[in-house]
């Protein structure tokens, strides 16, 4: 099992990228009233046919060569189901993939959100030639950040991987996310 939800988000996003997606959208929602945490990762990758789709949730049907599958998805499915939630994958060959996870926030086994900012940084620095759209919502208040938005300022993709940009990005996201949580009543 992974430690927190932000690590799962990194893991399933890595699946998308390794499968060849050029664009990955990550949406994380915390809804206090409905007592829910929702994680959604949508990609424009090659997608999966029904056979592969039925395999990815089963750790024992995994082949070593098949990098698209592994323990990550089964772990996340188990974590979700332990918290009265579910994991759902929508995909079709040539149609991209959408992974959606819902968890009961107050459930004793619901993992903490963790260091979401580091997850975004690891993705953007690790895959500088791909595009990311990130959204974090707490009770309807949202934070949006995308590669395009950063490139509007930086004007050069090569600058995305500079350590000082990464350090700035992590700090910026951490502060903004903290602000969203602080404003919550």
């Amino acid at each position: 099992m992974l430690q927190d939800l932000s690590q799962y988000v990194l893991d399933i996003s890595e699946n998308s990228l390794k499968a060849g997606a050029s664009r990955v959208e990550i949406e994380l929602c915390v809804d206090e009233q409905k007592d829910l945490v929702s994680l959604t990762v949508t990609d424009n990758g090659p997608g999966m046919d029904e056979e592969l789709l039925s395999m990815v949730v089963d750790p024992f049907c995994t082949t070593r060569r098949e990098r698209k599958v592994g323990l990550g998805i089964p772990f996340l499915k188990q974590a979700a189901e332990t918290c009265e939630g579910f994991l759902r994958i929508d995909s079709g060959k040539g149609e991209g993939t959408k992974v959606n996870v819902l968890l009961r926030k107050s459930h004793i086994d619901c993992p903490p959100m963790g260091d979401v900012a580091s997850t975004v940084v690891a993705l953007m620095v690790g895959w500088p030639d791909r595009s990311f759209v990130f959204r974090y919502a707490v009770d309807g208040k949202t934070l949006d950040l995308s590669t395009d938005q950063l490139l509007e300022i930086l004007e050069d993709r090569n600058l995305l991987v500079l350590p000082e940009v990464a350090v700035w990005l992590r700090k910026y996201l951490s502060e903004q996310i903290e602000k969203l949580h602080m404003g919550r009543k």
């Binding site: 390794k18 323990l71 600058l159 500079l162 350590p163 700090k171 910026y172």
Partner: protein
């Protein structure tokens, strides 16, 4: 109250970076971090954060940080490889956040391999 980080700060970083990146030379050192499920579970993301912070602190711009998937040494994750131009690829295993400054100072900057953490060497 401490100053809040803003998009304006990114603009400043860009202004400072522009002339310096132009001066970059070809021979870059590469750092590769294993970011498969096994790596993430063992703390690879925290290693990546520590590497980026150390490079920023030291102002090292001619180092490229990359990630890779599972290479089948899951039990030794987190794995971190250092490749200096013209030298063997060194794989460090069971890397902890506190090992990062030493690996960067000794190996990346000074070219001295940190032998006690080495788990693989590829010519």
């Amino acid at each position: 109250m401490p100053k809040i980080t803003s998009l304006e700060d990114l603009r400043k970083i860009k202004e400072q970076a522009r002339d310096l990146t132009a001066a970059r030379s070809g021979g870059k050192v590469k750092i590769i971090i294993g970011m498969g499920t096994c790596g993430i579970a063992a703390g690879a993301r925290e290693i990546m954060t520590a590497v980026l912070e150390e490079l920023d602190k030291r102002g090292l711009r001619d180092v490229v940080v990359e990630t890779t998937g599972c290479i089948g040494m899951c039990q030794k994750e987190p794995l971190l490889d250092v490749i200096r131009p013209g030298e063997p690829r060194i794989t460090y295993g069971n890397v902890r956040v506190e090992d990062v400054p030493m690996i960067i100072a000794e190996h990346v900057v000074n070219g001295r391999v940190v032998e006690e953490k080495v788990v693989g060497r590829t010519e």
